[in-house]
Every structure is written in C-alpha cells, then in structure tokens.
C-alpha cells in the first residue's frame, strides 16, 4: 500500500469516527447532554445531528485540500490536528447550545437494595492469555539467544521496515516485553479500578472485558515486536491481529450499546464540561460512563482518581526512563 493510500485510509477512518461520535452513547444522550430517551430521534436531535454532519464534512474537506491539491502527504499530521481541533470547537458549540435546554438534575435518587449480581467473577482469567503470550515470548528469546543478531531493530516504519537499531543486550531484546508487561498490567489495573470505583450498569461487565481484551492485544503486539529480531512477522500480522481483537471487542460493546434501553448514569448535566469532562465533588464515583464515546472517564473531583491515574502514569514514565533508548 502506498503512503498516499495509507494516509487516505487513516484520514477517512478518522473523519468517519468523528461523524459517528454523537451516536456512540446511550439513547438519552445528545452531544454529551442527558435528555429523555430517544432524544436523537426528536426534532431538535435530528436538527443538531444534521448540522453537525455538514460541519464535520465541510471541515474534513477543507483540511484535506493540501492532500488533494498538492499531494503533500507531509501535511497529513497537520490536517489531522486541524480536523481534531475544529471538531472539538464544533462539538463544544453543539454541547453548549443543548446544555441550555437540558433539564436540571432531579434531587431524587434511587437504588436497589438487593445484592446485585454481576457476571464478572472469572474476569481475571481473561488476563491469562496475555501472561502466557508474554512468558512464551520471553522463553523463546532466552532459548534462541545465540541466534539473535548482534544488532537488533528497535523501531519500524509504517511499511514494517526497521529504521532504528540497537546493540544486542538484555535491555534492547527484552525491553519491548517489559513495556508490554507494564502496559498490560496498567490496562488490567484500570479494569480493576473501574470495577471498584464505578456504579454498576448493564454495560459495565462488557466494558471491563473489552479493556481486558485490549490488554491481551497489547501483550500480543509487544511480543511480536520483541520476536522481530528472530522471526519475520508479516507486515499485516503484527498490528493486524491485535487490532482485530480490539475492533472485535469494540463491536461487541457497540452491539450491546445499540440494543440497551437503560438510561445513562444520572450524573448531573451541570457537572459535565464540554460533555467530556466530569467534575462532581459530591459524587463518590472515581469513574463514570462516558457521555461521548465508549468506556469510562474519571471524576476529576475525586482525589483517588488523580492518585490512581497519576500513579500509573508515574510508573509508566519510570519504566520508560529505566529502559531508555537502547540505541546503538
């Protein structure tokens, strides 16, 4: 695939995702604002969605001018950035205009008093494949240590060709596995934190399972990278297989999201900023379901959330510094 074709595919995927974003939420949410169920099919919902589609398509066409007119593919990152920024401006304007129309949060809250059952007991077994994949890669590297060339690739371009190398060492050979392990543990930890610090919803088990599938995809990706000096993993297999896992689990969650009739979490509209940032000091939840997109977001008013996410980022940074760049 040529650079041009690849960039076009990525660009169109990004635009498609932005177009779909207002639909990636429960049926009572429109541009991050909670209304009554079915709001997207109401007159106001249809009008906002129609205007949003036109705005995004116009912006995407404008940002694509350098690509189409001058075939300047170096401008692609700038186009991506421009589309992303303009998208936020457009989305924010819709959120702001709808926020004024949204009903105030009701002071009445309700909860079930039976011990709700969540079919999540064997969730940690989903991490077993990731552990096995990483361990198998580590053992394979150890057994074939002599066959590893004295200079190993540590970076690849989009065509799966190495473009940076390092001297063979424990750090350069096992580094990708360590990064994979940390990222897998990080993803798993996020799953556990969500189970601990979020409200039970009908979609929560699926979202946590999706996160654990992503942990497996990460383990697979970094194991492939670690094995590159020994095995020539085909270009499509390395990113393709993990991507397939992620897209598959995402589709599984999307399917449930489309079918569910359960309203969104009753988080007050006035605690959402831009429909994406949640800040509510009165809410003990560390994580809440996103109003836009799939998954969870942090309650920025909860110090535990900062501690958790900050601590995890710190660990990742420290590991990154320890591994460093093993360049030759």
């Amino acid at each position: 695939m040529t650079d041009a074709a690849m960039m076009t595919v990525v660009y169109l995927t990004m635009v498609g995702f932005i177009l779909l974003l207002p639909y990636l939420s429960r049926g009572d949410v429109l541009f991050g604002v909670r209304f009554a169920p079915g709001v997207r099919h109401s007159e106001i919902g249809l009008r906002h969605l129609r205007i949003y589609r036109l705005q995004v398509l116009a912006l995407a066409a404008l940002a694509a001018v350098p690509l189409l007119a001058w075939h300047d593919y170096r401008a692609v990152p700038r186009s991506f950035f421009a589309v992303a920024v303009l998208f936020f401006v457009v989305f924010y304007s819709h959120w702001r205009s709808l926020r004024r129309l949204a009903p105030d949060a009701l002071p009445v809250r309700e909860a079930a008093l039976s011990e709700p059952q969540e079919n999540m007991s064997p969730w940690f077994w989903l991490l077993l494949p990731a552990a096995l994949i990483l361990a198998a890669a580590a053992v394979y590297l150890r057994l074939h240590w002599e066959s590893i060339p004295p200079i190993v690739p540590v970076h690849w371009n989009v065509h799966n060709q190495p473009d940076d190398w390092a001297l063979k060492s424990i750090r350069s050979v096992y580094g990708p596995l360590l990064v994979g392990l940390v990222m897998t543990l990080w993803t798993a930890l996020m799953g556990m934190a969500i189970l601990y610090g979020s409200r039970r919803t009908d979609l929560r088990p699926r979202l946590v399972v999706m996160l654990l599938v992503c942990a497996n995809a990460i383990a697979l990706l970094f194991s492939c990278i670690a094995l590159m000096p020994l095995l020539r993993v085909t270009a499509w297999l390395m990113p393709g297989l993990p991507l397939l896992l992620i897209v598959g689990s995402l589709a599984w969650v999307l399917w449930a999201l489309r079918r569910t009739r359960t309203p969104s979490e009753p988080t007050p509209n006035e605690c959402w900023y831009g429909g994406m940032i949640y800040y509510n000091p009165q809410d003990p939840a560390i994580f809440v379901e996103k109003r836009v997109g799939i998954g969870y977001t942090m309650n920025f008013a909860n110090p535990l959330g900062w501690l958790l996410v900050g601590g995890i980022i710190l660990v990742v940074v420290v590991i990154g510094r320890v591994i460093g760049h093993p360049g030759a």
């Binding site: 809250r109 079930a112 008093l113 039976s114 011990e115």
Partner: protein
C-alpha cells in the same frame, strides 16, 4: 421525605437531596420500612456501603452511618470483611409507657398533618388500616 418503592423484586430505596431530613436518616428510615414489612428478610445480602453510596451518589460515610445505626438496632450484621447481611432480629423489649406515649404523639401529629394538608379521613383510615394489617401478618 422518605420513600420506599414496593416492587416485586428487588426492593429499592429512594432519597431526596432537597429534603430537610438528613440523607443518612432517609436511608435508615427507608431501609427500616423494608425490614419491618419483610421486603428484606433475614439472610438477605444487601449492597456494601461503597456500592450503595456509589448507586445513590452520596458520601460513603452517609451510608456507613445509616448501616451502623441499623446494626445497632439489631437489623444488620456488619462484620468486617463480610457482606452486610440482614439479621433475624429477636423481639425487642416492651416499650416503656413514656416511649409508647411519644410514638402515639408522633402518629397523631402525622395524622393531623395529613388531614390538614387535605387527605380525606376515609383515605387516611384506609391507609392506616392497610399498614396495621401489614404489620400483623
């Protein structure tokens, strides 16, 4: 204002953040109604303090206080490291004459308030009868 919702399953409670009654008190009163009426039975597991606080969107201490007071009344088993469970509560000791008079006064106040706010006497009588029948079952 305290509400309990009588649905087939599961029993639910409702709180009103605008009510002058403290939230922990609302939780406690709503749960006590469910316990007295048998909607929550001995051996039933109830949500942990954390789960209920998350579900209601109130502080953990608020739910913790309600659970503690219900445990002191003998309704709940809150042993550390175990799920909160409804206890088979023994018959409480007979009320003293003063306490009985206090409850009588509270009931009369409540009935007077309901009448003053427009509830007609036959409806009020029917409500009280239904409550009494529920208690004697």
């Amino acid at each position: 204002m305290v509400y309990t919702i009588h649905m087939a399953q599961p029993p639910r409670i409702r709180i009103d953040l605008d009510s002058p009654v403290p939230v922990y008190r609302q939780i406690m009163d709503a749960m006590r109604i469910l316990l007295v009426e048998g909607a929550l039975r001995p051996g039933n597991a109830i949500p942990s303090v954390r789960q209920l606080a998350l579900a209601l969107g109130v502080h953990f201490n608020t739910v913790g206080e309600a659970y503690r007071q219900l445990a002191e009344e003998g309704w709940l088993d809150l042993r550390h490291g175990r799920r909160a469970v409804v206890l088979a509560r023994g018959r409480p000791p007979a009320l003293s004459a003063e306490k009985t008079q206090e409850f009588r006064n509270r009931l009369r106040t409540l009935v007077a308030e309901a009448k003053a706010q427009g509830m007609n006497p036959p409806s009020l009588a029917a409500e009280l009868r239904a409550l009494a029948e529920g208690l004697s079952r």
